[in-house]
Amino acid sequence: MNRWALRKAKNGAFLVLSLIATMTGLACLAAILWTLVSHGIAGLSWHLFTAMTPPPGGQGGLLNALYGSAVMTLLGILIGSPIGVLAGTYLAEYGRNSRLSTAIRFINDVLLSAPSIIIGLFIYEMVVVRMGHFSAFAGALALAVLAIPVTLRTTEDMLNLVPIGMKDSSAALGAYPWRTTISVLYPAARSGIVTGLLLAIARISGETAPLLFTALNNQFWSTNLNAPMANLPVVIFQFALSPYKDWQNLAWAGALIITVSILVLSISARVLLALLQSGRGSGR
């Protein structure tokens, strides 16, 4: 009897601890979001979207940083995602279980969790040193390298989910694999691949470390891809650590904008995936 009570007590204790752990995790998320909203909301105004980043102590906005982030993220996705999608296609359709594919899959998973600052150093050595100066293009390349593993992984997973019968039907009609892939598999896996793109955008749009010494930063409006360009994460980094109140407020407002957009992106990617799965369960 006594022993049973002891076991039950132990069980209860551990379950309560696990509840506390979960609460702590959720509390951290809530605390971070609350901090961002309470600090950031004061800084939200039209000036953010119409004015440039100010000199120390001055008033201003984040227009050039928002523009730079959008351009580099877009460019990064435009360069990175086709590579990721094609490589994912190779793994799912051609390579399958060959030794090369196994190696690529492994390396891709390593790249997926490799520190982003290493990628920044890599692009610095490859591009910035050769060109002799920092540039938005180098920043976009660093982001592209980070986007490749994400899109590769989701593309391969999604292509593997397409029913084999569809592939066989296409082949039976005499289509070559490329035709099957483009006309049958890609349309069937479209929402899955788009989910991968959204996740990749979410991943790279908040990255700071790889931009520090590729795109650097720029206090002024610049659309030149061959010159340093302002971007939101690096501006947040600089302004948050500055002693000026105005700069810190801008940093909080920028942090709020960036987090909200990333969370919206991640949630919509999840919703899309859920819709896809429920559609597959009931339809067809």
């Binding site: 702590t24 959720l26 490589a87 390579g95 890599f122 694999p177």
Partner: protein, 319 residues
């Protein structure tokens, strides 16, 4: 009946070859990227490694004025902050995974799971700014004085909690890292626990075991490899994390016996000093730090992936 047009067929074959080689070259590019990272880091680090040799990793000195660089302090900071993060995040992640798989009402399972994953999506710079302006003051006012008062007097480990409560420092960086890697560890463990066949768990319950006993004696042994893989994946993240640490570590190139003192890590040293580094040897030393980080994280992540893969294969074989 359609007649096959030889011209058309030949064209199809060419398209096929083009498409196939395009996908193949994209796939090979992934290999080249990893190779390129290794080679470019080695080339960049070469001058520093040539100058300092093996002593680069054993010396604590970091002096841009006299051009003397050693990586011991950043290595120490990286290892200790990650160790603190793991110490806190592994039990907590285990708890969350236990809660999600065994306790959670089905209705809440998805929302809580998604919330945990959203914590993983928050960019690291946000953790940094939050850690500096919110967490550090809280630790400075409430937690660190308590640690100093209660643990600072214990012989043996007391020196770890000596000195004034700065707020920022090794300990704070470890705590921020713990919060950052928590969702990764929790999500991997949950996925691993979900692969345990229900039959095994039911057998445990059938013998009269409590939830905890089933967890500890059935689920954990069955998913050991996956748990270790998940933990090491989290460790890989913690070792390489840059921005969050840069905000709260204090950036002091020295090894203090106290966890409350400011320090530095490999990644935060690079992030802080790289654009300001003047002189080839300085830059090269920072790249050498990057090379060290690459080697460390590559080993950890590769080991983690190998373990998770082993689990996947085994899961595929038994189910």
């Amino acid at each position: 009946m359609a007649i096959i047009n030889p011209r058309h067929a030949a064209k199809q074959l060419i398209y096929e070859r083009v498409f196939r080689s395009a996908t193949l070259s994209a796939a090979i590019l992934v290999l080249l990227i990893l190779g390129g990272v290794a080679i470019s880091l080695m080339r960049g680090a070469w001058p520093a490694l040539q100058t300092f040799g093996f002593s680069f990793v054993t010396r604590e000195i970091w002096n841009p004025v006299t051009d003397q660089y050693g990586a011991l302090a950043p290595i120490y900071g990286t290892v200790v902050t990650s160790a603190i993060a793991m110490l806190l995040a592994v039990p907590a992640g285990f708890g969350i995974a236990l809660f999600l798989t065994e306790l959670c009402p089905p209705l809440l399972k998805r929302p809580i799971g998604v919330a945990v994953e959203l914590l993983a999506a928050v960019p690291s710079i946000i953790f940094g700014i939050w850690g500096l302006f919110v967490l550090a003051p809280v630790l400075q006012r409430h937690v660190q004085p308590w640690l100093i008062a209660h643990f600072g007097v214990i012989p043996g480990i007391g020196h770890l909690f000596k000195g004034p409560p700065f707020g920022i420092g090794i300990l704070t960086a470890g705590v921020v890292l713990a919060i950052m890697v928590l969702p990764f560890i929790a999500a991997t463990m949950r996925d691993v626990f979900d692969t345990v066949p229900p039959m095994l768990k039911e057998s445990g319950y059938g013998l009269g075991a409590t939830t905890w006993e089933v967890m500890w004696n059935v689920v954990v042994p069955h998913s050991r490899v996956g748990i270790v893989g998940g933990v090491m994946l989290g460790l890989g993240r913690a070792l390489g994390e840059t921005m969050a640490v840069t905000f709260v570590i204090g950036n002091a190139h020295r090894i203090s016996s106290s966890l409350l003192a400011p320090g530095t890590t490999i990644s935060s040293a690079i992030a802080n000093e790289f654009t300001e580094a003047v002189g080839d040897l300085y830059t090269s030393s920072l790249i050498a730090l990057g090379l060290l980080l690459f080697l460390i994280t590559f080993t950890v992540i590769a080991a983690a992936q190998a373990m998770l893969r082993r689990l996947e294969r085994r899961g595929g074989a038994t189910v």
